[in-house]
């Protein structure tokens, strides 16, 4: 998303400021409720799973999934909940005229979605550029018991171990370059082509697109070995890599 910014330069370089237009990465939070408690709980959990990724992240609030239009007080409470969870709500996502009015009342900007048709036609890929731009979620420290790491709309790479009672979850594939003793869940939103890969297999549970297998005892041919799991029809296959 980081394109070189186009600058509108003032004639003299001694001017007190310079205005630049450019694109910056922004997390979008689509809320389905205006209950600040529920939002605070959910976001605090998310922030805790990847503090280095979420903390003080700029957030654009998307109100389009709400059943009815919220009022100013409700949106203010939601923005406050976002802030208490450790992220910073900087504006509202473009939507109806009511959103424009809310933004004015709250003194925050309305942020327009980047629209693919505004760009020069893509050369090769017909895929949505927003999806292409989402990088893999990288996690380099051990995922300890009780922790949960979730990669939304993308793959997850863990370069350390996943402890018993820990969960690694991705909407795409899960790759763990270490031992997995906890749970590994790929295709959390139903992508049946997603897979789980791990270096040393001791997992409690493996799931792809909702089809899961619990390992009460680990088969000897899998224990400690590099393993992948994938869906074939409705069957979840778990097998050694390279054999």
């Amino acid at each position: 998303m980081n394109k070189p910014a186009e600058a509108v330069r003032s004639p003299a370089s001694t001017a007190p400021l310079e205005i630049r237009f450019g694109q910056v990465g922004l997390a979008q939070v689509r809320i389905r409720t205006t209950d600040p408690g529920a939002i605070l709980d959910e976001l605090t959990g998310r922030v805790a799973t990847a503090p280095q990724f979420f903390e003080r992240t700029a957030v654009c609030l998307d109100l389009s999934a709400l059943e009815k239009e919220p009022d100013v007080a409700e949106v203010r409470a939601v923005m406050d909940a976002v802030r208490r969870a450790g992220m910073l709500a900087v504006g509202l996502a473009h939507g109806t005229a009511a959103v424009d009015a809310l933004a004015r009342a709250l003194d925050v900007p309305v942020l327009t979605y980047f629209r693919p048709q505004n760009r020069p036609p893509p050369v090769l890929q017909p895929a949505d550029p927003q999806e292409l731009a989402v990088p893999t979620l990288m996690h380099h420290t051990p995922v300890r018991s009780g922790q949960r790491v979730y990669a939304r709309h993308r793959d997850l790479v863990v370069t350390s171990t996943v402890g018993a009672g820990a969960e690694v979850i991705a909407d795409g594939c899960v790759h763990v370059y270490g031992a997995v003793r906890g749970r590994a869940v790929a295709g959390a939103r139903g992508d049946v082509t997603a897979r789980v890969f791990c270096q040393e297999f001791y997992a409690e549970l493996v799931s792809v697109a909702g089809v899961y297998r619990v390992f009460e005892t680990i088969p000897a041919e899998l224990a400690g070995k590099p393993v992948q799991a994938w869906l074939s029809g409705d069957d979840l296959h778990v097998a050694r890599i390279g054999s």
Binding site: Q52, T141, R144, S145, G163, A179, Y202, A223
Partner: protein, 270 residues
């Protein structure tokens, strides 16, 4: 520079207080000024292990609530004159601790020129344990070679990496060390107990000490003499080694035998 070390584990009964007392004595015996604080409000134990239970007048909660000064509450050890104990309150509960209050006490100890502050954490992951670890620079995670203790330690390590001041500031986090207690090389050899290497592998951390299972620990607790002061004991020598490693010396691990086959290999036949 004052260093704050939390002794924690998640699970109860693994030897946190025994370890806190022995590490505090061991470090203080080397001439450092050490304060050891009992964070287990309502279940006061450290004073018993340290043998100063009849000299507790004021406690940690009294200091936090301003009923007395820190100097009045610090109990000077009778054996080592650079060692001080701050006892927990037996009549309150954990809600009497506040983050601001704990910070004030730690700041005051730092200003007073203590070299080390040892925080003896309560079991669990609730407020008392959280506050004991929150301001720590280093953590000694006490673990028994047994699956539930290892899992609880993993959980605590996760909290150390996220719910501490150092983690929040992002400046390197809390330095973590593992200390195995109640280790029985014989039972490891016969496959009944996890080995040092099994625990190290699961938790992905280096071991700062292995304390063998020993009758002397119980005897020492009942006598109010930290076990490290009983020079004849294996456990004392193991704690002395751990103190040396904590202060940066390198020493080979003692009181462990090389297991013939690892725990997981036996479990899974790999």
């Amino acid at each position: 520079m004052t260093e704050i070390i939390v002794v924690t584990s998640g699970k109860g009964g693994v030897g946190k207080t025994t370890t806190s007392a022995s590490l505090a004595c061991g470090i203080a015996r080397r001439g450092k000024r050490v304060a050891v604080i009992d964070f287990d409000i309502g279940l006061r134990n450290l004073d018993l292990i340290m043998g100063c239970e009849r000299r507790v007048v004021y406690d940690f909660v009294n200091v936090i609530q301003g009923d007395c000064t820190l100097k009045q509450a610090l109990i000077k050890d009778k054996r080592i004159d650079t060692l001080y104990v701050l006892a927990a309150s037996q009549t309150r509960d954990k809600d009497a601790l506040t983050q601001e209050g704990v910070r004030r006490v730690l700041d005051e100890l730092t200003a007073d020129g203590f070299d080390y502050i040892i925080c003896d954490s309560p079991a669990g992951i609730e407020k008392g344990a959280h506050l004991a670890m929150y301001f720590a620079d280093r953590a000694v995670v006490v673990v028994n070679p047994e699956v539930s203790s290892v899992r609880d330690s993993d959980r605590i390590l996760g909290l150390l990496a996220s719910k501490t001041l150092r983690a929040e500031q992002g400046n390197g986090g809390v330095k973590e060390h593992l200390l195995l207690t109640r280790y029985s090389p014989k039972r490891v050899a016969s496959g009944e107990m996890m080995s040092v290497d099994d625990v190290k592998e699961i938790l992905g951390l280096d071991v700062i000490g292995v304390v063998p299972e020993s009758q002397d620990v119980l005897t020492a607790s009942n006598a109010g003499t930290p076990v490290i002061l009983n020079e004849q004991s294996d456990a004392a020598q193991a704690y002395e080694d751990a103190v040396a490693r904590l202060l940066g010396e390198s020493k080979p691990l003692r009181f462990i035998e090389e297991p013939k086959k690892g725990f997981f290999a036996r479990m899974f036949g790999g």
